[in-house]
Symmetry: C2
Subunit: 397 residues, 2 copies
DNA sequence: TTGTCAATAAATCAATTTCGTTGATTTATA
DNA sequence: TATAAATCAACGAAATTGATTTATTGACAA
């Protein structure tokens, strides 16, 4: 028998759900007047009035915009996200650099710190996160400090398995260590899923409810969005697209990753967005092989899940990413795909910053996103509760 | 921006959701007393009393069981599904035979009719469904007739693509034709997804919230269950595991299907569950190749979705199915799977009848299952509403 | 061994709270 | 003056809490 069951619905959770829904609509659509919110949610105008009144009182929405005139009738008063409504820390653990950002409720990066390294080491990362957080938080007023929702961490899983130098990660629980050291709620998810979450929350293009997302950096990963929700999976390892098996007994990230390109070049590529100036033959081969494995993984995932869109992004110059998108779309069309409707293939909109932004999106999502079904009782103040599961300690990552 | 949004929550939908949740708990766990329901749902005892009172009055639950004594305190009064609470028609369109069943609310097959054919043809199937339905319904009382929720159809998609003889299916909409001819709500889904739904609803073993399901018949297909819900996908083509690309430029069903085995043998295999008496060499080769592609597809899907279990079932003798399960588990363990936790592999519990049962499960699910989030307003009587989307006409199947 | 009674837990009754809806009203614009 | 946004006031649905009823077990005394 199926053990866990969808949660029962209780009236208290209604309000929380509807509050989150309204915040999410405004996040994706930009400032919206109450009438449009009522229309989009299906709620009555009165309910929207009540909910937004509370959200404004809580400092999460801002009614200070210009009234929009033009049509007959009373002018529209658009409600916008209040940037100071909540603040979030995001930590990315990367192969070559760790980054810490402070992001506001509107999704803007307010502050940033970085720590380059030969290989990420748990002690160094922890110390960096603690000291850099202290720096960032020192610049805040007491009121802002009270609105810090927590920290999210974007990190590859099974780090110790990827290189001998990263063995010290085995047995470490960075989430718990930082939660203790900072006395904050801390979330940790796969870096690919985080990048995907960032695209979903902060991406600048319209997205369907369901899509597959690849993120190519030194490790290749990804994420899956189904019915408008990021799939994490029971052991938090969904979207492990780098481990997707591809023809030739390999996995996707053996072929399609920046590491592969670097080892073929014999040199490290620059971290910032300069052009990469690659030898045409090397470039062509990498593109072809990457497109081959990406299209294979995409087609398999689409067969299993029925997805209309595949998004490809990565820590690379936009031109290279776009070439990869084109090559993958072409490879996909050339593959036998009987019984499957080919998805659109498109570039992501966030590039190099996706994982770090996605890390900060974790506390944002836990506190302010509609969430699956109703899961947690409504807390005294919105943003302290978690609709999804709170990050457990003892996770086997 | 994401277009479709999670529906707003309104009090009316609470009751519908909670009613469905309670029915689902009893369906999976067997008869349960009110106290256990309150415990499992998190609802108060009072709420459970109110909800079950209505469900009993509606004829969906039966409080007639034996009181269970043994512990201190008032004895438990288990509530069971009322078999006559609702009735469902299920139609399977198979490669060699079509089947129509009448299934009751408890999941028991009450009546069955079959139509063998060289190839399924739309006109013949429609006529069979109409006349056989009339026969089955003729045996019902007026009261039972009023409790018929509708018909579900389990059919492969893109039938016209699989053999020249099935070209007449192009442009046909069997769902709409039967809805009109029978004046009943009719649902249609991929036969693999239906088999998966049947395992989920009527399977005799405990299942996790998330699993991948393969169903091997003449066409190979499957289904995906995520967070306790069957994934259908925006174009209803999720779980198309037969179309999963596998090494060698093939798709899964080019290798792992009963058709492949038959064409290798040069003869048709019996439809009922006699032993198949296959030459050992042929058997071994088919098992090895099938296990290879099944494990490839399973590993890819697990990488994308993080699933703890893979279920394999099919229209074949139990011994063969079990051998396939063992071979697939072994192939899986022998594949490179860095970064992915291998899933358990297990045989399904329904075998040859899975698709037909799953067809009947479609109206059951639409009327009585918890459904994603709240989607449709509560109807005058439970079972006439649809929480998920009603089957549209004009679908591109 | 048997009869009585307290302890226990299920199920129900009554009162209350949360939250959304409906219909009337106010407000600002073309 | 017509129109549409936004709010006010009254109402209804569904859940919760705390008190009450009901049926059983187990202990203790006759």
């Amino acid at each position: 028998m199926t053990n866990a069951m969808p949660a029962a619905a209780v009236p208290q959770r209604l309000r929380s759900h509807n509050e989150r829904l309204i915040l999410w609509l405004i996040r994706r659509n930009g400032p919206m007047p109450r009438a449009a919110l009522a229309q989009a949610t299906g709620l009555s105008a009165q309910a929207v009035t009540n909910i937004t009144r509370e959200l404004i009182a809580d400092g999460l929405l801002d009614a200070g915009g210009e009234r929009q005139r033009g049509k007959v009738g009373q002018p529209l008063l658009p409600l916008a996200l209040a940037p100071d409504g909540a603040l979030f820390l995001g930590l990315k653990v990367g192969r070559r650099v760790a980054e810490l950002v402070l992001v506001d409720f509107a999704g803007q990066i307010r502050q940033m710190r970085a720590l380059p390294h030969a290989f990420p080491q748990p002690d160094a990362i922890r110390d960096f996160a603690v000291s850099a957080s202290a720096e960032l938080l020192a610049g805040l007023t007491e009121a802002q400090r009270a609105r810090l929702s927590g920290m999210g961490i974007a990190s590859p899983f099974y780090l110790w398995d990827w290189a001998r130098e990263m063995a010290p990660w085995r047995g470490r629980d960075l989430r718990q260590e930082l939660a203790q050291a900072l006395d904050l709620p801390v979330w940790l998810e796969n870096d690919g899923s985080c990048a995907c979450a960032a695209e979903m929350m902060f991406g600048t293009e319209e997205l369907p409810e369901d899509f597959l997302y690849f993120y190519l950096a030194h490790f290749g990963g990804g994420g899956v969005v189904l019915d408008g929700r990021l799939r994490l999976g029971p052991s938090r390892n969904a979207g492990a697209m780098g481990s997707f098996p591809v023809p030739g007994g390999q996995q996707l990230l053996d072929v399609a990753s920046v590491s592969t390109l670097e080892s073929r070049l014999g040199r490290e590529l620059p971290l910032e967005d300069e052009a990469w100036d690659l030898p045409p033959a090397t470039l062509r081969q990498w593109l072809d092989e990457s497109a081959r494995v990406l299209s294979h993984a995409a087609l398999g995932t689409v067969a299993a899940l029925d997805l209309p869109l595949v998004v490809i992004d990565g820590a690379m110059p936009a031109a290279l990413r776009d070439a990869l998108v084109a090559a993958t779309a072409e490879a996909l069309a050339g593959t036998r795909h009987h019984g499957v409707t080919l998805p659109e293939v498109r570039a992501g909109t966030l590039g190099r910053r996706a994982r770090t932004l996605g890390a900060a999106a974790l506390p944002l999502g836990a506190g302010f996103m509609p969430g699956g079904t109703f899961a947690a009782p409504r807390p005294p103040r919105l943003g302290q509760e978690t609709e999804g599961a709170q990050p457990r300690s003892g996770d086997d990552r």
